[in-house]
């Protein structure tokens, strides 16, 4: 028995061998399928109890989710584009937060589905379930035509953050512009890690999943709490500065045809909506402002275009350098490295992974080969990821340096969440439940802007006061 104890406490090969030897003396041989102790034959009429198991969720549930997602997106589109109702968007987001967040507990969401799709494309052994693919595609398709209505009210992560926007402060664009580069990195890394079968980092570090599961024992609950607390002051911090799916939605939304607009008719430049957006996604008119002189602008652009390939190559090289530490995140590579390190230095203590590998009796050579293969894929991926980021930075710099003239207040299409907050501020939209209180000086002033001749005349039928912003 002493040997068994030794075996359980500190496992070394020697004790294992001794145990096996000691046991061989008094136990019948029992490796593989044979059993050491024969099944008893009961005389008291004892019946074997059944091992009870609970069934998993059904697939029908997943199709229902796809249908509900489409329905929610359609309703959100109507609210954002057609009726321009902040109220509708708000209540829809509460409902979606309840269903997709707390009832469905956040899985599978389109943000995480990025990784399933990436893995499906790069790993031939993995086929993306059709429902997951649809969950990934449908919001993108909506974004392509109607803007990011998914962000407006369907996404549970967005909704929970949107709800806590209580005292938004406007971060200077100096800061937000830099931070808004992070999602590209996150997206690229998420795809790379999924494509090399290393892990789903986007899911793993999802800050709100702890909330959705109401799991008091999850460390991520506190990460989520941190995000929500930040979100009281800095509106939607995850959406703006981390969300990888937002990058894809933005790419689609940029070209959307029927995107939500601040004003349903012509902008009168009343500036009422100027501070209405807690995300700072409204571009001001810039006509009449001094512009960079043509010569220096062209020169700068030429420089930037020349820099673009340099940035791509530089980014690629850094990604390539980074691929080695990144690949160590992969369990196979990690194990292989550990084994090699232990062989180089016999004093190193075995880790759980190397010990298990030894125990399982797998081919070390095959592991090394596979680890190297993953490392190679990661290397290619590192070049691509770095190159992609170089490109993104280059294009961003070029974009900054080519300012299109703009005469109206307009939403920044790629970034705008279509939350419809600004709609209520537009006096041209008096038909659509604005945030104005009838007869108020503000209302009168606004009306004066739209219809100067009606000044000081309160509207007979005042639109209802809104309780939500």
């Amino acid at each position: 028995m002493q040997t068994i104890l030794g075996y359980l406490r500190g496992r070394t090969f020697l004790t294992a061998a001794l145990t096996a030897l000691a046991l061989a003396a008094f136990l019948p041989s029992a490796s593989g399928d044979e059993m050491r102790f024969p099944q008893p034959e009961f005389t008291s009429g004892y019946d074997f109890p059944e091992t009870t198991v609970a069934p998993p969720k059904t697939e029908a549930g997943q199709w229902l989710d796809v249908a509900l997602l489409t329905l929610a997106l359609s309703i959100a589109t109507v609210f954002a584009v057609k009726t321009r109702s902040r109220r509708g968007i708000f209540w829809l987001s509460v409902i979606c937060l309840g269903y997709f967040g707390f009832i469905k507990q956040g899985c599978v969401c389109p943000i995480g589905a990025i990784q399933n799709v990436a893995m499906g494309i790069f790993d031939s052994n993995y086929a993306v379930p059709l429902t997951v693919m649809l969950i990934f595609l449908i919001p993108l398709a909506f974004a392509l035509y109607f803007g990011r209505v998914f962000c407006a009210s369907v996404c549970a992560l967005g909704a929970i953050q949107d709800l806590v926007i209580l005292k938004p402060i406007n971060l200077p664009r100096k800061v937000t512009l830099g931070l808004s580069m992070i999602p590209y990195l996150y997206l690229g890394a998420g795809i790379l890690f999924a494509a090399t079968n290393t892990g789903f980092i986007i899911c793993r570090y999802d800050p709100f999943i702890g909330f959705f599961r109401l799991n008091g024992n999850s460390p991520y609950l506190y990460l989520g709490a941190g995000f929500l607390l930040t979100g009281v002051f800095i509106a939607r911090p995850y959406c703006r500065f981390f969300c990888p799916y937002g990058v894809l939605l933005g790419m689609m939304s940029r070209f959307s045809r029927w995107h939500l607009s601040i004003t349903p008719s012509e902008c009168v430049d009343c500036r009422l909506c100027e501070t209405s957006c807690p995300f700072d996604y409204i571009d001001k008119p810039n006509t009449g402002l001094d512009r960079e002189n043509r010569e220096s602008g062209v020169k700068r652009l030429t420089h930037l275009f020349v820099m673009l390939p340099v940035l791509i190559v530089l980014g690629g090289w850094i990604g390539h350098r980074l691929s080695i530490p990144m690949s160590s995140y992969n369990q196979k590579v990690f194990t292989a490295e550990q084994i090699l390190a232990e062989q180089a230095n016999p004093d190193l203590e075995q880790t759980l992974y190397t010990e298990t590998f030894d125990e399982m009796g797998l081919s070390e050579d095959a592991l090394m080969q596979e680890a190297l293969k993953i490392r190679k894929r990661m290397n290619v991926g590192g070049w691509l990821l770095g190159g992609f980021l170089g490109l993104v930075f280059g294009v961003k710099l070029i974009g900054i340096s080519t300012i299109r003239s703009q005469k109206d207040y307009e939403v920044v299409k790629p970034s705008c969440f279509s939350c419809a907050r600004c709609c209520g501020y537009c006096p041209s939209d008096a038909m659509h439940k604005p945030n104005f209180v009838a007869g108020s000086p503000a209302y009168n002033a606004a009306l004066a802007l739209v219809n100067p001749e009606k000044e000081a005349q309160p509207a007979k039928k005042a639109p209802q006061e809104s309780k939500v912003s």
Binding site: G178, G216, E274, T275, A344, A371
Partner: protein, 598 residues
């Protein structure tokens, strides 16, 4: 222009109530959150699986098993720990709902307040002072700064990172795999540190030029391998039966062997070869058989892939347990490090390679075999076990077959028959036969399951015998490959048995001689002895010579009844099988080498 802010009366009661509610629920949520964090930290401490106090108490109880007070203490502590664990989990499970409720109330209150504080209409009274040029400039700066931060992080992470896993590290394996007919090869754990191809160090022999090896006739005249050319059966003109190591009676010469090794001597004409080793050194010795003078010593060193320090082995195995073999032109020796060397008769290295450090808990001990110009190596270890046929001239793999077995300590048997030669290997759980020319598996018989196999399989009268300590000695029909019988009482644990006159003779590893009927495994006789048997017995002129671990050779008639002939003592412990040349016996004790006879 400036538009006046419209604001409801914030002094009104509903406003104050909402504000108070919002603040209160906010504070409540914060308190709950802090409590949850504290509780989580606490729960980590109350982990019932690794509670150090509980483990210590249980250890104490092991030392003092009847201590009632201690038992009571364990029970109390166990209950306490479990209660703390589950309470803390339950607390967090419930608290999260409180936190959630608090947050909902807080958010709703503040949302409702927004209706009172319509504080949005604040366009700056001044005209926008946006400067496009300036804005673009700092936008560029901002993006560039973000890029630089990312690059900085990336470089901090990437540059100091060192890895041992690269093409070079696994290159030796690739080479070996290429040389080994694409079969999977053993890991070369130490070899990976430095780029080391495991190809032979000397110029490989050109494949067109056949390597010359001694003929079978010459082999039979000599003692080229463990247990001799015909499986331990010898006739001598005058077999010695009486000697005494202490007095020197019957001993022609005695020579000290520099390094210990449990490999048995082999003899070619007038030369005797031995191997020995310790943690750091491995050597091959050549003695002249006439005078017992050490003709040369070959140091095994500088083999690519060979570890600096030999792997741990048990004292019973040592660093040079496997017996050497000679093809009449070269001698081959294998060591516990996985080093395999071919040395010519003048002590010059022909080739050397490392087969990968064996992962063998006691140490590698399988001796070498030879089929024509193919050197046969049984290399059973924890994983990547294999059997390989190597070219005697170059050491390159002729073939290599992976074996799905754990470690074994038995030596291979090359069974020569008219139907063709077979290479028989014993290991837990099977005896497997291979074609020695190609490595093709011919047949297998499962009979040794669940033990540690050390005795070499033997053949006699159309039957193979294999044994495994604590499991059985099994007889396998050489034609049908069926297991004819299994004897589970008397098992030669380490020493190889021998068959004569339809009888199987063996020695138990912990003492005792026995004889079984080779046809059915029935016990014929059992004779107690004080010391166990590790050395393999020989059958000389119809008498069994079986030496125990103390060096006493039990000589008895190969008959159905025990009849002792003599019990001469070597005077020192010995575990090696004797070698025979002419009328002399050559026995290696743990310290010395003896020539016995005339």
């Amino acid at each position: 222009m400036r538009i006046v802010e419209y604001q409801k009366n914030t002094a009104a009661l509903p406003f104050q109530v909402l504000k108070g509610l919002g603040v209160a629920s906010g504070i409540f949520s914060l308190v709950v959150c802090v409590l949850m964090i504290a509780n989580t930290v606490n729960a980590k401490r109350a982990d019932p699986i690794h509670s150090p106090a509980l483990l210590k108490l249980k250890d104490d109880l092991n030392a003092d098993r009847n201590n009632e007070a201690l038992r009571e203490e364990i029970r109390q502590l166990d209950l306490l720990t479990r209660r703390a664990f589950f309470t803390s989990h339950k607390f967090n499970r419930n608290a999260v709902f409180m936190l959630f409720g608090g947050l909902i109330v807080m958010v709703s209150s503040f949302k409702a307040l927004e209706a009172y504080k319509a504080r949005y209409f604040y366009p700056d009274s001044r005209q926008p002072k946006d400067d496009l040029i300036e804005n673009a400039a700092w936008a560029r700066k901002s993006v560039t700064a973000a890029g630089l931060v990312m690059v900085g992080f990336a470089l901090i992470l990437a540059l100091p990172w060192k890895t041992t896993l690269d093409e070079e590290a696994i290159a030796p394996k690739n080479d070996a795999a290429a040389g080994g007919e694409g079969s999977n090869v053993a890991g070369q754990p130490e070899g990976v540190v430095e780029p080391a191809p495991s190809t032979p160090t000397t110029e490989p022999a050109a494949p067109a030029e056949p390597v010359v090896v001694a003929s079978r006739e010459e082999m039979v005249k000599n003692w080229p391998n463990l247990r001799g050319p015909v499986g331990g059966i010898v006739t001598m003109e005058k077999a010695p039966t009486a000697w005494d190591g202490e007095s020197g009676e019957g001993i022609l010469w005695k020579a000290k062997v520099p390094l210990t090794g449990f490999s048995s001597p082999i003899i070619w004409n007038d030369r005797l070869f031995l191997s020995g080793g310790d943690q750091t050194t491995r050597q091959v010795y050549c003695y002249g058989i006439e005078k017992g003078d050490l003709l040369w010593t070959f140091d095994v060193r500088g083999i690519p892939g060979s570890p600096d320090k030999a792997p741990k082995v048990s004292a019973d195995t040592g660093y040079a347990a496997a017996t050497m073999i000679t093809d009449g032109f070269r001698v081959f020796a294998i060591f516990s490090t996985g080093d395999l060397v071919a040395v010519d008769f003048e002590g010059k290295q022909v080739w050397a390679r490392n087969l990968g450090v064996p992962e063998n808990p006691y140490g590698h001990s399988s001796s070498l075999e030879l089929h024509e110009d193919i050197l046969l190596v049984q290399y059973d270890q924890e994983e990547h076990s294999f059997v390989a046929g190597l070219d005697v001239g170059s050491g390159k793999d002729r073939w290599k077959v992976e074996r799905k077995f754990g470690p074994s300590w038995a030596s291979p048997l090359l069974h020569r028959s008219e139907g063709g030669n077979e290479l028989i290997l014993s290991a837990d759980p099977k005896v497997v036969s291979y074609d020695p020319a190609t490595g093709k598996e011919l047949w297998s018989a499962e009979c040794l399951k669940g033990g540690e196999v050390a005795p070499t399989p033997i053949h006699a009268d159309g039957v193979f015998f294999a044994a495994c300590d604590y499991v059985c000695v099994a007889a396998i029909d050489a034609k049908s490959h069926e297991v004819l019988w299994k004897g589970e009482d008397l098992i030669p644990g380490v020493s190889t048995p021998i068959v004569a006159n339809g009888l199987l003779f063996g020695g138990l590893a912990d003492g005792g001689l026995f004889c079984l009927d080779a046809k059915n495994g029935k016990e014929k006789w059992f004779e107690d002895s004080d010391d166990g048997f590790y050395a393999s017995p020989l059958l000389i002129n119809g008498k069994v010579y079986m030496m125990d671990r103390e060096g006493v050779t039990h000589i008895f008639e190969a008959a159905g009844e025990f009849k002792s002939v003599a019990k001469p003592a070597l005077g020192e412990p010995a575990v090696c099988t004797p070698a025979i040349s002419g009328n002399s016996l050559f026995i290696r004790g743990v310290q010395n080498l003896y020539r016995i006879g005339s």
